[in-house]
């Protein structure tokens, strides 16, 4: 089974939790789920507008935020997309961007599952 989420990353976030403070892992995961779609939109809009720099910047952000929550495959895809965008490689950008949405969705599903189990 393909692992969209690496639990160690989430455990690492949980380890940063301080007593009496809002649940950090929930906030990070919620942030990931709420903020990522706009990055994905930005990638799409960038492609539509033929603005590869915008594509790269959006991919760069998503690369980091997905890495923190352990979404390794998504992060890896974003890294490749960012690199392609910086190299101004249009065909690669199109190919790599196609599937970011799916990878995001699969990662969110895996996260939800993990959080349910953790609760």
């Amino acid at each position: 089974m393909t692992s969209y989420i690496e639990p160690q990353a989430l455990k690492a976030i949980a380890s940063l939790q301080r007593p009496g403070k809002p649940d950090l892992l929930h906030r990070i995961v919620d942030l990931f789920k709420s903020e990522s779609p706009s990055a994905i939109d930005a990638i799409q809009q960038g492609l539509d507008a033929d603005d590869l720099q915008a594509v790269g910047n959006a991919a760069h952000g998503l690369k980091s935020s997905s890495a923190y929550v352990g979404a390794r495959l998504l992060s890896e895809r974003c890294r490749e997309l960012e690199a392609a965008a910086r190299e101004d490689n249009h065909p690669a950008c199109y190919a790599l961007a196609d599937g970011v949405e799916d990878l995001f969705q699969a990662s969110v599903d895996a996260l939800d599952l993990y959080m349910t189990k953790a609760a």
């Binding site: 690492a12 976030i13 380890s15 940063l16 939790q17 301080r18 403070k21 950090l24 906030r27 990070i28 942030l31 990931f32 903020e35 910047n57 760069h60 952000g61 980091s64 935020s65 890495a67 923190y68 929550v69 890294r79 690199a83």
Partner: protein, 733 residues
């Protein structure tokens, strides 16, 4: 002294350390901010967030955080630009900046480092480790701050102390130094001292060599050293006084690799010391040395005189009726008078011929040590640190009395004062400073009793002797000027045939009161006073003139011998004098003979030889007078270009009585003949002496047996007779 600007001090003061240091975290990724926040707060930091570079700069300006964590790629303004901006803010130059960047982007790492990033963290960030990294950076920043503060304190300390430090590498000769070093040396902006030689070049000419030598020695001996020297001041013509301290730095093997040291500007300190010294040792009104300084000088002079068996004199003087000036014209006028009197005293004591001029070379040295001091009130003391004779002091006293009594212009008024002077002389009048001062004072009161405006020696005997010599000196002077001196002549004969061989000119002083004064009495006086120089010239001219006159009167040409004093020989231009005499008289130079004593020649053998050669070049003859009384250095004798030896009368006297003298005379004659010298025996008084000398083949004889010295007219008659007699003998009449 205090030129420390508030700004430079501000650099020294570190900002008060916050209890919880502030970390500014700049990232557009909220999740990153959240994750880092917890860890950093747990580690004791307060955390501020900014979402892009532009916001980061604003936050920095507002909060002055202690550390910045900066993401590289952000919207609006990226991390690089933000770092550049922060570094230009006040206090932003040294704040640690931790940049978070992807491992893959090597170009951005290089660029960030160039913008002044302190350290890097790679993505994905391990937020667990982050606080430790931040703590480490904080610590190293504090260390760097402390170092900067310390450096700055050191700079300030050096600047306040005007002290710079330096290192001199002995293998490369290169020098490194602190900022203050440059200021102390007076380096202007952009000037450097890169090596030891360039450093030496900054030192004034008179001091450079001693610093150089001292440093070389210290390096060789591996010893610390210190020295003071001057450098030119860049702003004016003055110099700055600098003290240098240095120590060798040696490695374990013992090899000395560096000299390390400091230089300090001690100009102000030296000036202050001088000022303190002046206040303590000089009189404020007149600027003359005060009693303390005089006492010190007196102790020193005393020590020197005891060691060298020298003489010195103390002149104690006050102004007659000074109180009246003070009372009638006021104290300012009184002070003005004291100042003018000091000026005159000083110029009299500095003035030329007051000390015996026999030893002119010592004169300047001696003069510089004479002291004019003001004891207080109207009392002054003149310390003549070297006098040869009591009358030297008398002469100074006389000149002081004369100079002081000239009228003064005090605030437009014509004022006259006189002075009375008491003199004590070491060692006759005391051998301690106290006794000499007391006796000079006593002498002054005696002088006052016997009428003011005069001087008096403490010792009556010295007083009278000084006066007597003093008057003889002035009489001798006028005798020379008025040509009251005469020459007498004593003939010499060839022992082999009895013919007259020459005439020696001798000086006589026919004094109106004392009768004939013996040369032994007045020649030393003439030598001491320098009167011998005009006297010697006169003798040369007169003797040559007389011989030429005799020749022109029909006498056979004879050699005329003239004595020369050591003072003439060393201090005057003998050669010129001889030339002048020959030119004026028209005498054939080979008829002139100069008699010199051997001790005179041996004073400076090289100089002696040089002058003798010059004399020989004129064609005149040279005889050594009184031979046998000095060291009679035979080894030098053969080097001296002389024609004649005159055996001293003391050897001739006992010929026929003392076997030893016979041997000496015989030896001198043999030796002289071996050196091709003519020998003259002086003081021949008996037939027996004459015969013995004849037996030794001595060339010439002079003495009462032949004739007493005679005046010119008598000598001329004697010569006419002697020549006629001889001619008769030769022609068989």
């Amino acid at each position: 002294m205090s030129q420390s600007s508030p700004q430079s001090l501000q650099m020294v003061m570190s900002r008060v350390q916050r209890e919880r240091p502030i970390v500014l975290h700049v990232d557009d990724d909220v999740a990153s901010l959240l994750m880092a926040e917890g860890a950093l707060e747990d580690a004791g930091f307060d955390v501020l967030h900014a979402a892009d570079g532009s916001e980061a700069i604003d936050m920095y300006r507002e909060h002055e955080p202690d550390l910045v964590i900066m993401d590289a790629v952000m919207p609006v303004m990226d991390g690089f630009e933000a770092i550049c901006g922060i570094r230009q803010l006040p206090g932003g130059l040294h704040v640690p900046i931790l940049m978070i960047t992807g491992l893959e982007d090597l170009d951005s790492i290089t660029r960030a480092y160039e913008e002044g990033v302190t350290d890097f963290l790679t993505k994905p960030v391990n937020f667990y480790i982050l606080p430790y990294r931040v703590q480490y950076l904080m610590r190293s920043k504090m260390t760097a701050d402390a170092l900067r503060v310390s450096q700055s304190k050191l700079d300030n300390a050096q600047r306040i102390a005007k002290l710079g430090n330096w290192e001199w590498c002995l293998s490369t000769q290169g020098m490194s130094w602190s900022r203050e070093f440059g200021r102390v040396l007076g380096l202007t902006e952009g000037q450097t001292v890169d090596n030891w030689n360039e450093f030496l070049d900054r030192i004034i000419d008179g001091d450079r060599q001693s610093v150089h030598v001292m440093a070389e020695h210290a390096v060789e001996e591996k010893q610390p050293f210190n020295i003071e020297f001057c450098v030119p001041c860049p702003h004016d013509d003055n110099t700055r006084r600098i003290r240098l301290e240095a120590e060798p730095y040696c490695v374990e093997s013992g090899e000395c690799t560096h000299m390390m040291g400091t230089i300090q500007d001690i100009t102000e300190r030296t000036n202050a010391q001088k000022q303190i010294h002046n206040l303590a040792y000089f009189d404020l009104v007149t600027g003359l040395p005060n009693r303390a300084q005089l006492n010190e000088q007196l102790r020193y002079t005393l020590k020197l005189a005891k060691r060298n068996q020298g003489k010195f004199a103390l002149l104690f003087l006050d102004l007659d009726h000074f109180k009246q000036v003070n009372d009638t014209l006021g104290h300012d006028a009184g002070d003005d008078l004291l100042k003018q009197v000091s000026g005159r005293l000083t110029s009299v004591v500095r003035g030329g011929d007051m000390v015996s001029s026999a030893a002119e070379n010592d004169l300047e040295e001696a003069e510089s040590k004479h002291t004019v001091a003001r004891l207080g009130g109207d009392e002054f003391v003149v310390l003549l640190s070297q006098v040869n004779r009591a009358e030297d002091a008398a002469r100074v006293a006389e000149r002081i009395a004369q100079s002081i009594s000239e009228p003064y212009d005090i605030a437009g008024q014509n004022v006259s004062v006189t002075t009375t002077i008491g003199i004590s002389v070491f060692p006759a009048d005391g051998v301690t400073a106290e006794v000499l001062m007391k006796n000079a004072d006593v002498a002054m009161y005696h002088a006052k009793e016997s009428g003011r405006n005069g001087y008096q020696f403490y010792s009556r005997q010295i007083h009278e002797e000084a006066l007597a010599r003093f008057s003889m000196e002035s009489e001798l002077k006028s005798a020379i000027e008025n040509e009251q001196l005469t020459l007498v002549y004593q003939p010499k004969v060839n022992i082999s045939d009895g013919r007259v061989s020459g005439v020696e000119a001798l000086i006589r002083w026919d004094h109106e009161q004392y009768g004939t004064v013996n040369p032994a009495e007045f020649i030393p006086l003439a030598e001491e006073t320098g009167l011998i120089l005009p006297l010697g010239r006169w003798v040369l001219c007169e003797a040559t003139r007389q011989m030429q006159a005799w020749i022109e009167a029909g006498l056979d040409p004879l050699v005329i011998a003239v004595n020369c004093s050591s003072v003439q020989f060393t201090r005057s231009d003998m050669i010129t004098d001889i030339n002048t005499a020959i030119a004026y008289s028209g005498l054939d130079p080979k008829l002139l003979e100069i008699e010199l004593t051997e001790s005179l020649l041996l004073q400076d053998i090289e100089l002696g030889i040089r002058i003798l050669r010059d004399m020989k070049a004129l064609g005149i003859q040279v005889a050594i007078d009184d031979f046998g009384t000095g060291f009679s250095s035979l080894s030098y004798l053969k080097r001296l270009p002389v024609d004649k030896l005159k055996i001293d009368r003391s050897f001739v006297k006992d010929l026929g009585v003392d076997a030893g003298d016979v041997a000496i005379v015989s030896a001198i004659i043999t030796l002289s003949h071996n050196l091709n010298l003519t020998v003259v025996a002086e003081g021949v008084e008996t037939r027996q002496q004459y015969d013995i000398l004849h037996g030794f083949a001595c060339n010439e004889a002079q003495g009462y047996l032949i004739s007493h010295p005679m005046k010119a007219a008598e000598m001329q008659r004697w010569l006419v007779q002697a020549m006629a007699h001889h001619d008769r003998k030769v022609s068989g009449l």
